[in-house]
Symmetry: C3
Subunit: 269 residues, 3 copies
């Protein structure tokens, strides 16, 4: 059951264990992703060459696959790394950035799901819907569909894949075949900073590295995102300073800050 | 005719229409470019795979091509995307970063001009001059030639290509075969932040997506850059904080801020 | 002999000569690297295509090779650029990011050392040790070994390669076959900002471009890093704001700031 205590405990674990999170992610967010993982206490590594991804993932505690600026050689490396992670029992999280915007993104996401069996899939409503219904149209990489409308589809996707599905939005839904957790933290200004969705996915990578309860770990990551985002937004006149303050808040996140946790629900389904 | 009113009107359009701007740009600035487009109210997407650029550009309102960290597979995608944009009537802006520094950059810029018929070409004085005279030598990607000396060459380039030419500098020249607009806003500290030229090109992408008058739209983008840059510089002790304040200023840019618009001239030629 | 005066003199040279530093570096840090070089007064260029690296390095004052997100086509370009730099007598600095973490990184670092004869090799203790002993295991790209334990290995590496070796850590060791300089400036928060090691390597590129005494120039670069890092940490509640303040401090670094230089030793060996 998610609670302030469970979140505090996992955050402490991330900070004390400093898990190595192997990221194969997009060019836009690499710097932010690495900084967010450092700020929360994890140890990031970025490596995408087919010549080394298997070696790198073997020493990692989790693997983050993000298709934001995908191309053939990167997809090849993602799948190679994902398979090696599966073999070693290292948890995998997938961010299907822009699924639905182009057939290539949708097909690649589905291929990665098939071949790398991700433990978590995190996207906005449009992206999650695109994974179930290829005809659904995304406007670029930003979300147009509502989280609520994606919920039924997400449940189906959880059933089909066995993965925890995270649908990001004003309220985040974190669900598997048994339960749904709703986290209500966050700030509208977060949508004006590029790549905070990708950061959420990377933080899921950090939390699933320290807690085998993937549903709970994923919810903890989303909660940390939302709480830090709220605190940062209060101090930021715009999205530029927001980006920096967000990292400061992740770094300084205290038990007192975590008392802002806003769980809207945790129910069995 | 450019005026505070025309700028306010186009800025409102960018914010209300939130045009999808497809960027094929360089690794250095991708994050800043995406953040600047979000801050001004547009919707950025980065996609460079030959497998998807045609699909992506079809759903976009404009295409930004920036050769800052070019290589063969990227150039192939740029040209594929540019041709698809031409076919669909989607406006294209080219940033020939470092043209003149190496033959490869100059030749690639000229190839893109030939094959993708950009509606706007924006560069510093050295880059613009290199497109007309390959023997002109650029020192890296920063400008050494003066905007003024590039002006005659820019006029020739406008005539040869039919494109609006933007020559960035302390005074920005925005010109086509009939008119020249001079915008005098900006701050010397902007040269100490990497990629603000690339940001200018991306903002041109946002403004040409909402106004078919390409000359005026390009001037509006340069004015927004300069005004936000001036405001940010006032609040920033150095280029690090400048980068963040610049995004904040773009995000918060008000009609009152726009009263700082400094048009040095708008004349027929 | 390193001193406040020697540092002030070289910093003035960087600012007045604004050397063009050609970087073939990793995706994570490109933006920071370019901004740090601009802030210190140098002129950065990023170019990695095999079609242009030889042309670009010829107009550069130094070459920075950083393998942080290496892959085959990039390594090919690094070696091509390195050989061209050797031929023209342009100094080369290598950052073997993550050497020891995977065989690919270790082998590639050794290949670059063999084929490009770098004038400086800068890494953390684990990376430097991996270059001498391939069996040494690195945890990702962050340092686990202590600088002190790497010192003996670094001396051997200096002898084998003829390069200046820089071992970064709480105390930085800058050494060649004759001397060791120890710089004690810096702040623990610097480890929470991604890519500051890469920034150090890039600043070495700027300083070796203006001073043929490679040992002294490298020490100057490390000192500037440490002093700016200390000043920035004082103003920063966390690593997000730290990143921006660090650039501001580089930009504003004064003779008075340099009086903070903390040289722990400069001895013959």
């Amino acid at each position: 059951m998610i609670s302030r205590e469970s979140l505090i405990k996992d955050l402490q674990k991330v900070r004390s264990q400093s898990p190595l999170v192997h990221n194969i992610t997009n060019y836009v967010v690499m710097n932010n992703t690495a900084n967010a993982l450092l700020a929360i206490g994890a140890s990031p590594v970025m490596a995408h060459a087919v010549d080394e991804v298997e070696d790198m993932v073997k020493i990692a505690s989790s693997l983050v696959i993000n298709i934001g600026t995908l191309s053939k050689p990167w997809v090849e490396a993602m799948i190679k790394a994902g398979k090696a992670a599966n073999k070693k029992g290292i948890p995998v999280v997938l961010d299907p950035v822009g699924a639905g915007a182009t057939a290539y993104r949708t097909q690649t996401s589905l291929q990665i799901i098939r071949e790398c069996k991700p433990d978590v899939i995190r996207g906005n409503a449009s992206e999650i819907m695109a994974l179930a219904d290829e005809k659904n149209i995304t406007k670029g990489v930003d979300s147009v569909a509502s989280s609520e409308s994606a919920l039924q589809i997400a449940k189906g996707l959880a059933k089909d894949t066995g993965a925890v599905i995270v649908v990001s939005g004003p309220v985040d839904y974190i669900l598997d075949q048994q339960s749904i957790i709703q986290v209500g933290n966050g700030s509208p200004m977060m949508e004006k900073v590029t790549g905070l969705g990708c950061t959420a996915t990377a933080l899921i990578g950090a939390f699933i590295a320290v807690n085998e309860n993937i549903l709970l770990a994923s919810a903890h990551a989303m909660a940390v995102m939302g709480i830090a985002g709220e605190l940062a937004a209060k101090r930021s006149p715009g999205p530029g300073t927001m980006q920096m303050h967000f990292l400061d808040e992740l770094y300084n996140l205290s038990d007192k800050d975590i008392s802002n946790l806003f769980i809207e629900g945790h129910e069995q389904v």
